[in-house]
Structures are given as C-alpha cells and as structure tokens.
C-alpha cells in the first residue's frame, strides 16, 4: 500500500510536468506552427511567469546577509475560497499578463526580422531578461539563489500523494481547457487569416490584412500561455531559481523538440510529443535503480538522453520536418455551442 502510494505520488508529479511542458508546446505551436514566429526566447516568458507567480504567493523576504531577499505579497491580504487561497488564481493570471507584456515589447521591434534573425534576437532578449536582470536583482528576485518555499494550491501535509495528485488534476484540467480553446481559436476566422499570413504575408497584406497586428496578437497570446505554464512550474518545483539551474536555452530547445516531434501546427501531436521530454528525464533519473547501473553509466545516462534528443532532432529535420503528426487541414467551423438567439 505504501509502495502504491509512492508510485502514485511519483506518477502524478511526472504527469504535472508533462502538463506544464504541454502548455509551453501548445503556446509555441501557436507562435511558430500557426504564425511562423520562431521563438527562441521561450525561457524568458516561462521564467518571468514563474518568478512573478512565486512573488505573488509568497510573503516578502527582506534582504539579509545570509540570503538575498525577494519581493512578495503578504499572503494574509488574499481571501480564501473553499479553503484555498485566492493568491494562486491571482498569481497565474498576473504571470500570464506579465509574460504577455514582455512579449509585446520584445515583438514590436523584432517581429519584422526574418526567422533566423528573429530567433537570435529573441534569444538575446531572453538572455538579457534572465541572465542579466532576474539573476542579478537580489532584493527583488532572490538573486542567484532564487525564491524558495513556494506552496502548492492544495496541500495535504504528509500525504504527498494527495498533494501531487490534486495538483496533477488541476494542471490536467487547465491543459485540456487550453487545448480546446486553442483548437477553437485555430478553427476561427482569426485562425484562418493567421494561416493566410503564415503562408504568404504579402498576399495577405494585399488583401488589406494588418499582418503585423495579427502576428503580434499570436505572439503575445502564446507568451501569456508560456507565463501561465511558468506559474504552474513554480508551484510544482516549489520555488524558482535563475539560469543555469532553470530557464536556460536548453529548456527553450526542449520545447522546440516537442513541437517538432509532435508535428508543427498540430496541437494533438504536440500533446503527444509533450510526453517525450519529461519521460526521458524521468527515465534517466529512474534508470539507475531500475537497471542497477553503476557509475559512471548512471550519470552518463543523462547525457545519452540529450544526445538521443539531438540525433532525433537532426533526423526529423532532415527526413520528416512536418513531424510525426501532419498538420491538419481545417475549415473554420461554427462551434456547436454557439446558439442563435
């Protein structure tokens, strides 16, 4: 019984991470798969969301000699609903908005650049945000140490499996809702015009479409979702820390991998692909005990996993760039639940 509970706790934790990466991948799919914006700064939107959420759900910690402090909000100020503090809801909303705002300012000067320049520019901005600012503002973000002690929305004390499971269910619900909303969006007139813009921006402009505004909407929305994912990540990790611990370019590339494997432009495929990266992580950590590995193989398996990802990436780009699931051809359909009055 104890073992089963442990397994549930474990799997729930893994499942939550899958959901978090699924959100990131769905967001990138919107930006890149549907709009053609090759975002290499994912880590910054994810990280900003995580940091903002962490600051909202924790009390402020003043700067002290032993550890750099961080901004926060006195949790007593938040009312409770059904025994759960509203600070979490506020946190995820504000995290999403913050990431969206950041995206707005980054996109305006950079969106007109060609895809590779855009990638380099967003990568550069992400470095500035995370490595320069977030990492080096001890009184605000906790500096190099980050923020610890971030609680989960539902805490069950020593019954870890309950905490993990409830959190997983929360994330699962959010991810599924997000999936349906994005699918709805993609099948709407907005999705249709975005498809046109991605295919042939000049032709879309020649039809009177403000392509800049459309692309901006997509980028900001995608970034907001990434911020949302970041908030959930912060709760999952129970804290945040700056690069090189978290929110590095490697994380950005991991999301690329998911979208490419799953099939750029296909949300269902992306959901499937979202299992891959956390699974590999999970597998590498557990492999030592499962296969009774000695050193150095036990540590090296982490590197082999990354090498495998690299190989898969190259092979996919060479031979199946559309990914495992091809992009669906869709027609804008009136949703069934819109009823005429």
């Amino acid at each position: 019984m104890v073992e089963a509970v442990g397994v549930v706790a474990d799997l729930a934790s893994f499942g939550a991470l899958v959901g978090i990466f699924a959100m990131l991948a769905l967001a990138l799919n919107l930006q890149w798969g549907k709009t053609g914006l090759f975002n290499a700064g994912i880590a910054a939107f994810w990280g900003l969301g995580a940091y903002v959420a962490s600051m909202i759900v924790t009390d402020p910690v003043p700067t002290a000699l032993a550890r750099p402090g961080h901004w926060g909000i006195d949790q007593a100020a938040f009312p409770s609903v059904f025994g759960v503090s509203t600070s979490f809801t506020v946190a995820i909303i504000v995290a999403a908005i913050a990431a969206g705002v950041l995206a707005f300012f980054i996109a305006i000067p950079t969106m007109r650049l060609r895809a590779d320049y855009f990638a380099i520019a967003t990568l550069g901005f992400a470095e500035i945000v995370m490595n320069v600012f977030v990492k080096n503002l001890p009184g605000v973000t906790g500096g190099v140490e980050g923020i610890t002690g971030v609680p989960r929305p539902f805490e069950f004390g020593s019954e870890i499996w309950k905490t993990n499971l409830s959190y997983f269910l929360l994330i699962a619900i959010v991810t599924v809702v997000l999936f349906f909303l994005l699918e709805r969006l993609v099948r709407s007139p907005w999705g249709r015009v975005l498809q046109a813009v991605r295919e042939d921006e000049d032709a879309a402009q020649a039809l009177g479409k403000d392509t800049f505004s459309l692309k901006l909407q997509s980028f900001v929305l995608g970034a907001a979702i990434m911020g949302l994912s970041g908030a959930f990540f912060a709760f999952w990790l129970r804290g945040v820390s700056p690069p090189p611990n978290s929110f590095t370019a490697a994380d950005t590339f991991a999301v690329w991998v998911i979208v490419i494997i799953g099939g750029s432009g296909n949300n269902r495929g992306v959901l499937a692909g979202a299992f891959v990266v956390p699974f590999l992580e999970y597998f590498s950590v557990r492999a030592k005990s499962w296969f009774d590995l000695g050193e150095p193989l036990a540590t090296q398996i982490f590197y082999f996993r990354l090498i495998a990802i690299g190989i898969v990436l190259i092979l996919l780009v060479m031979w199946r760039p559309q990914g495992i699931f091809p992009e669906p051809k869709h027609v804008a359909k009136r949703p069934r639940w819109v009823v005429g009055r």
Partner: protein, 326 residues
C-alpha cells in the same frame, strides 16, 4: 583603469575573433546561424587536451592537430547533415545545428565528465608592459602567455584569412558564393567545394578559438564554447553577417565595450554582474536599428526602417482606438 580595460578588451577580442570569423563565414556561405559553433569550439579545446595528454605533445601540436581534426569533422557535418538541408531556408539547418550542439556537448560530458580541466601549462605572473595609462599614471598589465599569445596568434590568423580571402582563387570563390550563390554557380564556381572549404575553415577557426579560450580561462569544461556563443553572435551581427572583417571589428568593439563596463561600473556604482547587458544590448540594438551590421552586407530580405514601422504601429493603434470609441 580605462587603458587597462582597453588592453584587456583587445586580448579578449583576439580570442573571440577567431570564432567570430568562422561563424561569419558559415553564415555568409550557408546562410544560417550555426548554433553548434560554440560546442565546436569546445570540441576543439578538448581535442587539444586529448592530444597533449595522450600523445604527450606540446600545446602547439595540440592546437594544430585540433584545428585539422575539427576541419575534417566540419566537412563530415556538411556532408551528412547540412548539405541535405540546402534550399530550405535558414530555420531547418538552424534546428539541425541545435541538435548537433546537444550531441557534441553531451558527448564531451560522457567522455570527460562535467568538471573543469586545465591544459596544465604553468603561467607566469602578469608582468608590466612598460605602458602607462595616461589618465592615472599607473602601469598597465598584460600576461605574456595568456595575453600576448592569443593576440599574436589572432593577428597571424587574421592575416592568413585575409590573404586567403583576397588573393586565392578559393577565397574569391567563397566571397562570390556568399554574395550570390546562383551567380557564382553560373560563373563556373564549384559551389559544393566552396561550402566544404568554408566549413573546414570555420571548423579550424572554431577549434583555434576554443583552445585559445581554454588557454585564457586556464581551464576547459563542457560549456566552454556555448557559454560564449551569444557573445560571438553579437560580434558577428555587429560586424555584419558574412563579413569576416566585420566580425573582427565586431569582436573588437564588443570586447572593448564589455571591458570598459568595469571602470564604468565602479564609477557609477552599478553591480558588476550587469556587464552582460553590454554584448547582448549591443546585439539587440544592432538588430533593431541596423541589422546588416557595420559592414552592411545585403540582408537577403526586405526590411523597412524601424522608425517607419513604429510610426505605422502608432497610427494603427490610434486608428483602432478611434474605432473602439465608435
């Protein structure tokens, strides 16, 4: 203090410039940013280490062997991967290079672990150079091995590259292919050969850059090259993609600007960690205001000036605002 910063900047530039020229050449000929360039530098550094430790040879031999090895390896990469991605735009090879970077970086971790290793060369203490800072009257320091060697080496390599590009048939073919591959092909240039040659050159330069960097930092670790990749990109973009001379200039400007940050930080009481804002800030500014960089090569895509774009955006905002208010 400023003079010291200038000198340090010069030395650092001499390390970066090698990698920057290699990256710029590939970007110019293959038309994509090679995100594996940093890890190629790391491979070069580790291969030199292997040579010196296993073959008991000196670091100079290690450097040369490493350059040759990485040149060959780069040609293999082109043959196996990048040649098959021609004509598909810059994103496909970019992603492939990210995959390659993952492979290279982690192959090193498998082989050597994650710790830092040094080349084991005893370094003399920094000695005064006989130069005086005109402002403070203090003497300016430079380390004979860690400072002078990279400078001299970079100088030689730059001359060599210049010679190749300007006076050899291959060099002219490389420049022509970077300018206009279709025209180059039509005038009888073997574009495939040019591509392989460019990769070989870029690989050799990356290896040299990696070794020099490991030398200067007195230690190599798996993130050696990738940790400076964005810096190298900044130099290449500032200088103008495809222009190795621009890359030189870019490396110089960025390294010196970065080093000038330290006296600036002291003067204005800014924390030193913000130094990274210099290279990244410069890169972002260049991308916004003058994406073709200092050397100003044609971009390969249309780009109206930023001010006009911003004005249009403002106009569309006020237009939407008016419509919103009805």
């Amino acid at each position: 203090m400023v003079f010291q910063a200038l000198l340090n900047g010069l030395v650092e530039a001499s390390v970066i410039v090698l990698a920057a020229m290699g990256l710029s050449l590939i970007y110019g000929v293959k038309k994509f940013p090679n995100f594996a360039h940093g890890d190629m530098m790391t491979i070069g550094a580790y291969f030199a280490l292997w040579t010196t430790s296993t073959l008991q040879a000196g670091i100079v031999v290690g450097l040369i062997v490493s350059m040759v090895f990485l040149a060959i390896l780069s040609v293999i990469f082109e043959f196996m991967i990048f040649s098959r991605l021609e004509g598909r735009g810059p994103v496909a090879p970019l992603i492939a290079s990210v995959g390659l970077a993952l492979i290279l970086q982690n192959a090193i971790r498998v082989a050597y672990g994650t710790g830092q290793i040094t080349y084991g060369i005893p370094l003399p203490d920094s000695w005064v150079s006989g130069l005086y800072d005109p402002l403070t009257g203090q003497q300016v320091w430079i380390n004979p091995l860690q400072g002078v060697v990279p400078l001299v080496f970079a100088f030689i390599v730059v001359l060599l590259i210049t010679f190749i590009l300007q006076f050899t048939k291959l060099g002219k073919a490389m420049r022509a292919t970077a300018d206009n591959p279709d025209l180059a092909r039509v005038t009888g240039i073997d574009v495939r050969l040019v591509r392989y040659a460019t990769w070989a050159l870029s690989g050799a330069l990356a290896a040299a850059g990696g070794v020099m960097l490991g030398f200067r930092l007195n230690g190599i670790q798996p993130l050696l090259g990738s940790s400076v990749l964005l810096l190298v990109f900044a130099a290449v973009i500032l200088g103008g993609i495809g222009s190795p001379y621009g890359a030189m200039l870019g490396a110089l400007v960025i390294s010196i600007a970065q080093n000038l940050f330290f006296p600036f930080a002291v003067l204005t009481n800014t924390p030193v960690q913000f130094v990274l804002i210099v290279p990244f800030g410069i890169m972002v500014l260049v991308l916004l205001l003058r994406p073709q960089g200092l050397a100003g090569r044609p971009l390969g895509f249309d780009l109206p000036p930023l001010r006009a774009e911003l004005r249009k955006l403002l106009e569309s905002f006020s237009h939407s605002w008016r419509r919103l208010r009805g």
